[in-house]
């Protein structure tokens, strides 16, 4: 019985969303400039945040998985903190650090007159802050699961540690990097709390899809529902991509090994 209730709790709101969706007006709503603007901004920022997360997150995951250093446990906890931290707190923290009067931000403002908050870059920073841990955790787990003796084998063949990483270790964890990147992208796409605190909700500049949904709810609920549908479809596609691409390929690998 609790299981049925639990399923209903997840399912009913989605049914409600589909039930109330203005299907007839949908094509018109999705063509509206403000909607397309928010959609395009979201796709751009989430993609840049994912690329940034991969560029910074893979080396970070490697450091956490492979290098013994003092305070590694603390570093690991700090890296994953944004996963449990309320995103709005992350936004406040980013503002205090990088704002015009922030700990780091005021140097940039005094020296160059640039200020990060309330720009599209701030959106990317907020999304990266919140979403990168998903990629780091996925890649670190994969690195910990790799048989280190393959790296020994590469070393006896004359490979440097960089060459070994590039040709042996990285390809071995590539599926996990892909899965982590998809999760990271999905999380960045849905980012709300840190973005609205650190970047605000300026149409065309920082008003991403979730922010557009929130502001549309006050004026035009049909537009909000239409935007929500787009995000829902995106989530389903992400889920299907993760299942279709990575889980069966893992099953195939096991089947091959068992032959």
């Amino acid at each position: 019985m609790p299981a049925v209730l639990g399923t209903l709790l997840v399912l009913l709101p989605l049914v409600g969303l589909l039930w109330r969706a203005p299907w007839d007006a949908l094509p018109r709503l999705l063509r509206e400039a403000s909607v397309r603007e928010a959609l395009w901004l979201s796709i751009r920022t989430a993609t840049v945040a994912t690329v940034l997360s991969a560029l910074l997150g893979v080396p970070l995951a490697w450091l956490l998985a492979r290098v013994e250093f003092p305070g590694r446990a603390l570093a690991r906890a700090l890296v994953t903190l944004p996963m449990v931290l309320p995103p709005v707190v992350g936004g406040v923290a980013l503002l205090l650090a990088a704002g015009r009067r922030g700990v780091v931000g005021h140097y940039a403002y005094d020296a160059f007159g640039v200020s990060l908050p309330f720009t599209t870059t701030a959106v990317v920073v907020a999304q990266t802050f919140v979403a990168m841990p998903f990629l780091v955790v996925a890649v670190e787990g994969a690195l910990l699961g790799v048989d280190r003796r393959y790296e020994d084998a590469a070393a006896t063949l004359g490979a440097s540690s960089w060459y070994t990483f590039r040709r042996v270790t990285l390809p071995a964890v590539a599926p996990s990097i892909g899965a982590g990147a998809v999760l990271c992208w999905a999380r960045a796409l849905g980012e709300f709390g840190a973005t609205i605190t650190f970047a605000g909700s300026l149409p065309g500049t920082t008003r991403t899809m979730p922010l557009a949904v929130y502001s549309a709810m006050e004026t035009d609920s049909d537009a909000a529902i239409a935007l929500s549908l787009v995000l829902l479809v995106t989530s389903v596609v992400v889920l299907a991509a993760l299942r279709g691409r990575w889980l069966p390929s893992a099953r195939d690998a096991v089947a091959r090994a068992a032959q």
């Binding site: 393959y150 063949l157 004359g158 440097s160």
Partner: protein, 280 residues
């Protein structure tokens, strides 16, 4: 060095392949005048005991290391490959000191002319068989991509695996994977070749085939070869000379025939007791 050429019954095609000229860029330094092979005194700490073994292997000679599980066989190979630094002693290969803690000298694994074939092969699953064999040449920048591929194909030919280059390691049988692992180790022309239980993971038929193949191939590499095994039949078939390890030390050394006739310890008598008649 005792020749045992009459012991195995080498397959004709294998012998002719093994005796063929080596591929370009491979095995450049073996067999040169002045090559003295391996002279090592290995002392490492491994858990409950210290491994303390002295051994010499001449170029072209195949020495078998025999002993029960936990006797330190794998540690010995790891130390020679540089994966496990010595606590004491010295490793010399053709007048080059590879490890000497007293002189504060340690050559990294990747700078040693040492090939190691792992028991479970450890072929890189994300690349083709050809790329596996070419890996060492590419990593050491000894050859261009194309030349490394050509050399890899030549090695696969020698191993009786012509046409297997584009395949993935996961599609190979155990015996094929072992040959690819051997080709990968030999492709950079090591002067010391280490094989860890090369036949242990194979079924009976493949085991006999590969044993014959190794018997013909290993001496032809010109490298000093060390084969670790727990099976006296394999050891006797492959090696010119045997070293029997107890818990970390050499219990006995000699030719397979000599050890079988005059077993110095009850363990060795038991080892050869069942297999000696079969080798006549």
């Amino acid at each position: 060095m005792t020749s045992q050429a009459g012991q195995g019954k080498p397959d004709d095609t294998v012998t002719s392949q093994a005796g063929r000229d080596k591929p370009d860029g491979a095995v450049a330094t073996t067999g040169e005048a002045g090559a003295t092979g391996l002279r090592a005194h290995v002392v490492v700490d491994r858990g409950p005991f210290a491994l303390d073994v002295a051994l010499d292997v001449a170029p072209g000679e195949v020495v078998g290391v025999l002993g029960p599980n936990g006797a330190g066989k794998s540690s010995l190979l790891a130390a020679l490959a540089g994966l496990l630094p010595l606590r004491d002693g010295r490793i010399m290969l053709d007048d080059e000191v590879l490890d000497d803690p007293a002189a504060d000298r340690f050559v990294e694994p990747r700078r040693r002319p040492v090939g190691l074939v792992f028991q479970d092969y450890l072929l890189f699953g994300t690349m083709s068989v050809r790329d596996n064999v070419a890996f060492g040449l590419r990593a050491r920048r000894l050859a261009s991509r194309r030349a490394a591929h050509d050399a890899a194909d030549a090695w696969l030919d020698r191993m009786g695996l012509s046409g297997y280059g584009p395949r993935r390691p996961a599609t190979l049988s155990g015996g094929q994977a072992q040959r690819v692992a051997l080709a990968r180790a030999l492709a950079t022309g090591p002067r010391l070749l280490l094989l860890d239980e090369p036949l242990a993971a194979l079924d009976a038929t493949t085991r006999v085939d590969l044993r014959t193949f190794l018997r013909a191939t290993l001496p032809a590499t010109g490298a000093a070869v060390l084969v670790v095994t727990h099976d006296p039949t394999d050891a006797a078939a492959l090696a010119d000379r045997l070293i029997v390890l107890g818990s970390g030390t050499v219990d006995a050394a000699g030719t397979p025939a000599g050890l079988a006739e005059n077993p110095p310890t009850p363990y060795i008598a038991q080892l050869f007791g069942t297999t000696a008649p079969a080798r006549r």
